[in-house]
């Protein structure tokens, strides 16, 4: 077997590859459903229904996509500069925590500010917390040559413990009857609903806006150029006089901030307080989304929507069909892997036989 680079994009491959990917996923899913002893018949329709079939389903998919877009962007921008930030999960939690620290003082006794200002401060604090959490690993990578994959990964554990400590200590909600959760955000600071009687919140607009902004930055600014150049070939970038170190640090701040904002969105848009299990791995999913999107900020929007839809749809399908809901994750994983292969096949053709 051999892969051969396609000289030009094949329209047919671009169209068929994703379809084949989805068919393979559905086949795997059918097998599992049959194994669990449930009828396979309607499974597919239910899956689609669960993600897009109703106003509620679609709203849920969008709600799920919101943090995924942001963590996806966080990974995309960092990976673009070859800064392998595996720590979006931790940055998300710290972002959420910082948002509550600013916006959770009941009655506003600490920050006696007008509401819009307080809101901006809350968002900024979340972004800053995420950014600073990544700054350490980025600095260690630049100055000490310590691998950032390892440091960001390990710091995820530390971040979560730190959050847990805050929730047991200074930020514990006295009204939560001892349950370790943070004080709640001032209700005035919560993001507004985009759709009545649903969980879609204006964090989605923020996420989409940031995706577009990130695209503009990468595409049209000198910083964006430096980012791409440093990522693709940092020696050449340094030779051309680009500030490699500054670019990496700035990129780290940006990436961490985006992940932090995912946390802000989850607090202000959905949960209104922090708990240690508020993110079902959004940070890790972000890496997958960024790679599926080929690190393209606008591609992240699509990839995040895709992942969210499969998650929400498959989960809801499992409930209707009556199979263990663990199947949802199996379907998500299969969909991811097949879609990954599909995107590869739009660029390469498989040639069978020797060599």
């Amino acid at each position: 077997m051999r892969l051969e680079s396609r000289t030009e994009y094949s329209r047919r491959a671009m169209l068929f590859a994703p379809i084949v990917a989805i068919l393979v996923t559905l086949a795997v899913c059918a097998l599992l459903v049959a194994w669990a002893g449930a009828p396979v018949g309607q499974t597919y329709a239910l899956l689609f229904d669960g993600a897009f079939g109703s106003r509620f389903a679609f709203a849920e998919t969008l709600t799920r996509a919101t943090p995924l877009i942001l963590t996806g962007l966080a990974a995309a921008v960092a990976f673009r500069a070859r800064l392998f930030n595996i720590g979006a999960e931790g940055q998300l939690y710290l972002g959420a925590l910082a948002a509550v620290a600013v916006g959770g003082m009941h009655g506003g006794s600490t920050f006696d500010l007008p509401l819009p200002l307080l809101s901006a401060l809350m968002i900024a604090a979340g972004a800053a917390a995420g950014a600073l959490w990544l700054l350490g690993p980025a600095w260690m990578k630049l100055k000490l040559g310590v691998d950032e994959v390892v440091t960001t990964l390990l710091l995820n554990f530390v971040a979560l413990l730190l959050v847990s400590m805050m929730l047991d200590g200074p930020m514990k909600d006295p009204l939560a009857m001892g349950w370790p959760q943070s004080v709640a955000l001032d209700p005035e600071l919560e993001f507004s609903r985009l759709i009545e009687r649903s969980r879609v919140h204006s964090g989605l607009l923020m996420a989409v806006g940031l995706a577009i902004l990130m695209w503009l930055i990468e595409r049209f600014t000198t910083f964006g150029f430096a980012l791409r150049a440093v990522g693709a070939n940092n020696r050449a970038a340094a030779f051309a006089g680009l500030p490699v170190g500054r670019t990496v640090l700035l990129c780290a701040l940006l990436s961490g901030a985006l992940a932090g904002l995912a946390g802000v969105g989850e607090v202000a848009g959905r949960a209104s307080y922090v708990t240690t299990d508020m993110s079902p791995g959004y940070g890790y999913a972000g890496i997958v989304i960024a790679m599926l999107a080929g690190l393209h900020p606008l591609g992240v929007l699509l990839a995040a929507l895709f992942v969210a839809a499969v998650q929400v749809g498959a989960d809801s399908m499992s409930r209707v069909v009556g199979v263990p809901n663990f199947i949802a994750d199996v379907i998500v994983a299969t969909a991811l892997l097949t879609m990954l292969v599909a995107t590869l096949l739009t660029r390469y053709r498989i040639r069978w036989g020797r060599a």
């Binding site: 349950w179 370790p180 299990d277 079902p280 499992s318 409930r319």
Partner: protein, 304 residues
């Protein structure tokens, strides 16, 4: 079959987790009695919890059972949106009219009794306690247990540690080993893994929430059991009769209602000194007749 109540449960952890397993057991029992049609979703993350609640409500379930602890406000919102559905959720908060009832594992009474057994059985006067996280549901039982132990032996020493996970028996086991190495000879088994360490080292363990004596006949001396049947059955009856309303079901977890009990001594019958058994029995009676109340303390317990 038309009048079977449709019940859905939503758990944030797999059904093997001790706490959740008790609810699951009671509902399975009701199902096998033919009273209900029972479905559940387990391991539901708290970002998904609200959606799952709404989906079950939309499916027209008569009763939705679950744990609201980390998703309190979202759960209450859903309940408001579906006033015709009965909600019975684990929560330390108050019920919310008209359809949001709460329960919790108020089993501090048998925990107190098992503490008495523990202190009475300990030769070293050192008791080890390994927990997952210091949440109120854990803390209150640990405190009651410690109070009970101190009643028998005021000088008893406690070592407490939390492993930061619900599902890491190897780690819980390590924590327990460390305590046993340091001289603890009775282990309070809040997590899976602790009794295994006790068994391997030949020391005693005290069970919690579930009864594991059949698995560790020579190790588990006593257990504080939580029976969810009184809670679930009461709720089912009310739903059936159309009289379900917002109530605090906490009391159905107490000994008086059969919601909790100290498990029979079983294999330890005869191994526990008669004098100690008598003291425990007396205390049990005092609790049941209301002359003794076990203090509820939800703060994080510390080693001493």
């Amino acid at each position: 079959a038309a009048d079977k109540i449709k019940v859905a449960a939503i758990y944030t952890v797999p059904v093997e987790q001790q706490w959740v397993s008790r609810i699951h057991k009671a509902l399975n029992a009701a199902q096998s009695r033919g009273e209900i049609e029972y479905v559940f979703s387990e391991n539901v993350t708290n970002a998904d919890y609200e959606r799952v609640m709404r989906q079950y409500a939309e499916q027209g379930k008569g009763l939705i059972v679950g744990e609201a602890f980390a998703v309190e406000s979202a759960a209450r919102k859903v309940a408001r949106d579906y006033p015709k559905t009965a909600f019975l959720l684990g929560s330390s908060g108050k019920p919310q009219a008209p359809n949001f009832s709460v329960f919790d594992n108020y089993i501090q009474e048998p925990a107190y009794l098992t503490g008495m057994v523990a202190a009475g059985m300990s030769k070293s006067g050192q008791i080890g306690m390994v927990g997952g996280y210091p949440i109120p549901e854990v803390n209150r039982l640990m405190h009651a247990f410690m109070d009970g132990a101190r009643e028998i032996n005021p000088k008893v020493k406690f070592t407490v540690s939390f492993i930061g996970s619900w599902f890491d028996p190897p780690k819980a086991k390590e924590a327990a080993f460390a305590m046993i190495d340091k001289g603890a000879d009775v282990m309070y088994a809040e997590r899976f893994g602790v009794s295994d360490a006790a068994k391997e080292r030949g020391v005693l363990a005290i069970g919690n929430v579930i009864d594991t004596q059949p698995q560790y006949p020579d190790t588990v001396a006593a257990s504080a059991l939580w029976n969810m049947e009184p809670t679930i059955d009461t709720a089912l009856k009310m739903v059936q009769a159309g009289t379900f309303k917002a109530e605090d079901y906490g009391k159905y977890s107490t000994m008086k209602f059969g919601g909790s009990e100290m498990a029979r001594l079983g294999t330890f019958e005869g191994k526990v000194p008669a004098a100690l058994v008598a003291k425990v029995k007396a205390k049990e009676k005092a609790i049941l007749d209301g002359s003794f109340t076990v203090k509820v303390n939800d703060t994080e317990p510390k080693s001493n």
